[in-house]
Amino acid sequence: MIIISIIVAVLILWVILSFNKLISLRNQVKNAFAQIDVQLKRRHDLIPNLVDSVKGAMKFEQETLTKVMEARAKAINAFQSGNIKEGFQNENIITQALGRLFALRESYPELKSNQQVSELMEELTATENKISFARQFYNDITTKYNIAIEIFPTNILAKIMSFIPFDLFELPKDSPEKEAPKVNLSI
């Protein structure tokens, strides 16, 4: 009798602990996703300012600038109509085009010395980094969550409580994760 009640107690304890662990992981995943969202919105707000202030100077980059504005409009529309996948596709286009603009900034001396443009560039660089770090954190924490709901014995609990796995972000082509390996034999 005592043995049975001990087993039951241990089981109940296990259920409570694993359930709490899963819930806290799932909340972390949701928070991480919300953080990405916040940063994407911030970028949407910053882009028109940037385009306005560099339009005059970057005469040969009008095409890239138009592309950024178009992708921004499409992304906003897609997110509003609930088409998440298309939204993120357009976000990736924005990331690539902005990367190009940042790289080209060096060849426009008047932009380099412009205080206002420098501030905007810093803001956008920070936002870009925040987006990629938020994705990195989202992927890490989601991987953890996905593993937790798949391994035995937690998977039984996850199935009963209907915890579903979340998708990972596909990293855009120019992210450092997919950078071609550099061989360095300096050590």
Partner: protein, 329 residues
């Protein structure tokens, strides 16, 4: 070892350190009671009834005093420790209209997002040397300090790597461990100082027993005098360990070990001491604020007396990490 095991290990280490220091304080306090409050061998030999009764009602003043002093110091540090650090380094809050300082704020926010913790409060120490440190009791309430020299000399990526290092100290709970150790070192210093002072006043007036009792007393008084040094050595040993892990943690957050390598190279080249940062918080910094060349040497003595591992070893460890990362695919 992943971050959760890291944190767990550090929390356990914190408890162990607390325990060691409590033993330390008990040793100091009980010794004081034993040798100064008539609790000596001589009184046992004197077997008059009154003397015996006096011994029974013995009250451990020294022990209580040392425990109370350390408790007060810990509570005090908890309440206004951060203000003490801010005023001792004369740190100021960053000015977000200055582009470099705005960049610092942005970089801290980026690293907080990467680590998945709330953004720490940022401060700038007006000093030309290159240095940085983090402090606080938990990731929910933490502080990052950088020197003006660091902001001026490092580029964005290098700054990010340094902040990543500090952010790793925060997320591994190193800050709590090191803050506690700092307070306890202070407490041991104060207590041993008090004992040494009072022993000067009373030692000539009292006969402290002969033979074995005298030898124990001599050993104890040597321990008292050495205790500030011993506790500091303990802190340094812990600190050195944590530096490698924070370096690795930075590389994990930024996925860019090369940036930390070049940041450390720059910090290493700036050898002048960080005057605004006192020695007592030296083990919190990314590099020893004394700016001495002890960091450059390896070997037994510098292994014991340095707060940080040699830069060369840290850089080599990072280079290996970068090399492995770049050749994985």
């Amino acid at each position: 070892m992943n971050i959760y095991e890291q944190q767990l290990k550090n929390k356990r280490l914190t408890i162990l350190i607390l325990f060691i220091f409590i033993v330390f304080f008990l040793g100091l306090g009980l010794g004081f009671d034993y040798f100064y409050l008539n609790y000596t061998k001589a009184t046992y030999i004197n077997d008059s009834y009154h003397q015996y009764a006096q011994n029974r009602s013995f009250f451990p003043v020294g022990t209580l005093a040392s425990l109370i002093i350390s408790a007060v110091l810990i509570i005090n540090a908890f309440i206004n420790g951060i203000n003490m650090i801010i005023s001792s380094t004369s740190a100021r809050e960053p000015n977000s209209s200055d582009i470099k300082e705005k960049q610092f704020l942005n970089v801290v926010e980026e690293m907080a997002i990467a680590a998945g913790i709330p953004k720490p409060k940022c401060y700038i120490v007006p000093d030309d040397d290159l240095n940085a440190f983090a402090t606080g009791f938990s990731p929910q309430k933490s502080y990052v300090f950088v020197t003006e020299g660091l902001l001026r000399e490092l580029n964005r990526e290098e700054l990010q790597a340094v902040i990543g290092h500090e952010m790793s100290h925060i997320r591994f709970y190193d800050i709590r461990l090191m803050t506690l150790v700092t307070i306890l070192i202070n407490a041991v210093g104060i207590i041993s100082d008090m004992i040494v002072r009072s022993s000067r006043r009373t030692s000539s007036s009292r006969d402290r027993g002969k033979g074995a009792g005298g030898i124990i007393f001599i050993i104890w008084i040597i321990l008292v005098i050495l205790s500030p040094i011993v506790s500091r050595l303990l802190a340094m040993a812990i600190s050195r360990q944590r530096e490698y892990l924070a370096d690795a943690g930075s590389a994990e957050l930024t996925r860019n070990p090369r940036a930390l390598i070049s940041a450390l190279e720059k910090i290493r080249r700036a050898v002048q001491p960080t005057r605004a940062i006192k020695d007592s918080i030296g083990h919190l910094c990314i590099t020893d604020p004394r700016g001495s060349l002890i960091e450059e040497k390896s070997g037994f003595w510098s292994d014991i007396f340095a707060t940080h591992p040699p830069m060369e070893k840290r850089i080599l460890a990072l280079k290996l990490m970068a090399y492995e990362r770049e050749n994985r695919t």
